[in-house]
Symmetry: C2
Subunit: 166 residues, 2 copies
DNA sequence: CGGTGTCTTGAAAATGAATTTCAATTTCAA
DNA sequence: TTGAAATTGAAATTCATTTTCAAGACACCG
């Protein structure tokens, strides 16, 4: 079975949660916003989860801790987390925005199965180098890139072979 | 000034239009659909245009030739063109689906300016090789990939420097 | 400790692109 | 030519995202 995510840390440590919370609090102060229980709960839930979460999915997890937190707050907090570098948006091109943690993670990319929607992560320094190189060549100040591979995973291939032999 | 698109052909030839139309007609027949004047007009307009077109943009161009053609038909025809390989969707992550011709074009990628939305194309065979390699490693049957670089183009950098010197 | 001006919250409404519906029209195989 | 089947396009719908707004929470100040 393939790993869905390759973490540098097998699980999130208390230490990392504290550091991440610190980053968020500093960012909030910096832009004149307030620290709230909701924002902390959402950040903690986000950090504890290993997958690529849509706003809806994160909402469901957050509501297990505090059922009164609403969609809008999760939506807005994810934007805040992205602003201060704790989260980043990953677009799998299925019409739903997803976020993943960014804090203390190596640069990586995704390969997505177009049948079942599952994804694996892979590492490739070449892609980052290419960003630099192309940016230099065309005089762009590059900020980021997206790279996804789409295909059909082993499991889905087995399933469709079982349905339609030969 | 940078070229927005690097074409293998400077302009679309009569020959290519005929061939593309042939591909569409064969596809239509193949899936039991009908040839119509609208579909031909939309295909021709699409081929004559060099940019990355949203449905709305293509609609506007199409309506110069036949004002009675509606948004829905353009939308549906673009899907047909994508089905038979004449067009492909490019996602620039601004929430709007765009299409570009695929017929007789070399594989390429896009670098997009996040200030003004303009884009340049670049070629890199490494990216295609990477798709193959990663697919093999994780046992995916890969079908395609997306690779975009985001940044700020020279023009926009000059403009913002002019506004805020030093 | 309060008081007070902001910021936050979350339900509901709005937005906007993508998609579907449906009645009138057109295509095309026989 | 004919009629079954597909097409068309305006309008309606969908659905994720984003905004609005009134009530509540935070935090700076004295």
């Amino acid at each position: 079975m393939l790993q869905k995510r390759i973490d540098d840390q097998p699980t999130i440590s208390r230490q990392m949660v504290r550091e991440a919370q610190d980053i968020l609090h500093r960012h909030l102060k910096g832009v004149g916003l307030k620290q709230t229980a909701q924002r902390d709960t959402i950040l903690r839930t986000f950090l504890e989860t290993r997958d690529h979460l849509s706003t809806d999915e994160l909402l469901r997890l957050v509501q297990k801790k505090d059922a009164r937190i609403g969609y809008t707050t999760v939506y807005r907090t994810l934007k805040l987390l992205a602003e201060c570098g704790l989260a980043s948006e990953v677009a799998f091109h299925d019409g739903i925005a997803r976020y993943e943690h960014q804090y203390n993670r190596r640069s990586h990319h995704h390969m997505v199965c177009t049948e079942c929607g599952s994804s694996v992560e892979f590492f490739s320094q070449e892609v980052g180098q290419l960003e630099q190189e192309i940016g230099r060549r065309y005089h762009y100040l590059t900020t980021r890139h997206t790279f996804q591979i789409y295909g059909i995973c082993e499991d889905c291939r087995k399933k469709s072979n079982a349905l339609r032999p030969l």
